[in-house]
Symmetry: C2
Amino acid sequence: MQVDVVGNVNEVRRIDIAGRSAVVIDVLRTTSTIVTALANDAAAVIAVETVPQAKQMTVKDSIRGGERFNKKIAGFEAGNSPYEYMTQDIAGKTVILTTTDGTRALIKAARAKHVLAGSFLNVQAVAAALCLLRRDVLLLCAGDQDEFALEDGLCAGCIIEELYRQSLFPIRLNDLGRVLHQAAAQCEDTLPDLVRVSTGARRLEKLGRMHDVTYCSQLNLLDCVPEMREDYRMELFRGMEGERISKLL
Amino acid sequence: MQVDVVGNVNEVRRIDIAGRSAVVIDVLRTTSTIVTALANDAAAVIAVETVPQAKQMTVKDSIRGGERFNKKIAGFEAGNSPYEYMTQDIAGKTVILTTTDGTRALIKAARAKHVLAGSFLNVQAVAAALCLLRRDVLLLCAGDQDEFALEDGLCAGCIIEELYRQSLFPIRLNDLGRVLHQAAAQCEDTLPDLVRVSTGARRLEKLGRMHDVTYCSQLNLLDCVPEMREDYRMELFRGMEGERISKLL
């Protein structure tokens, strides 16, 4: 199993992702939010690239959510904090979501054979899904305003560590994968401290959203994996037999 | 002191390097070769972007060296192996050098206030020079055919570790710098093993150049720092007082 990591969304064009399982990682906060929404029984999350597209979209039982540069979008029901998607009334709703980096990365990954959403919250579950899918893997770190983001890279490293634990096949890494695996494997106990000093976390701290950072730094809190289907609609990955991933772990 | 790492040469345009000390890192093999040539008393190394430019250039007492995709260029006296620049007859010569990634990165970095060449061979010396220069730092990993290269990233991490040891000023890192520092600090004893599995090292192994990889993986073998001056001419950095860096360590 070849596992390549790409450090930010702009670099993905240089690698052929056709035929692969792609995992989009935007820890602060898009993919953490999507995992949280589906774990709280949202029907689906639709990734949308632009604010006008999100405004024009009409979907039954839906809410609009998202941010631009970490601020909620005027007229939208919700922002991009996972806490906004933990409420009871999210159940059954479809979330129309547009964010600065994360949803753009999801849409860029759409050419892959499978597109999953990864975060610290669901590292084990994502690795289990990848092992079931048995394809070469692209871990796409969304990054932070076109630059490499520490938290996304460390999350990629954690997924690699978990693939080593779970995979029955030998794993080959690209150079960025090797260095991120090295960094993550050595600091599993101090992950939240490392994430807290990242550029993205500091920006959220200034906006009074440090509790979002703390929540998103939790390893393996949830056992669900969002999978993107046609029309950028993300629903729960249910494995090859339609089972919930929790039964497979 | 702000210390930012850029993961490959194509990303440097997105960061403002004006006013900074830039360190170009192409461990396999350009910057290791340049350091070696100057340590063996070459008068200078001139970084040239294209093969035709290198062919047209006329410089007294010079030799032409370099590679394209790790192969020596037809008609040139030398390739890009550091071993070719360890001979006695290199003394006093000017090397006209063009390589796939390394010299391109040097030329891209030319807008910086100072441009140094870094490698595992001269980590301590580079950090000493940066501390003398007292400017914000850009560590520019040349990368391997437009992708992040493990050995360049780990070398950047080692320079950061050494800056922490030597600098009198607090150091602030960007996210890539943090993760590379984390990776390098944890594996100082196993650096040669890690470098050996990198994409670039494997390619050199196939070409029968594993001894180049082994040589370039040695930490702090040399105490000299190449500095690029006008016309992309690299000579020994002699510190603020004109002293050799060895007296400053």
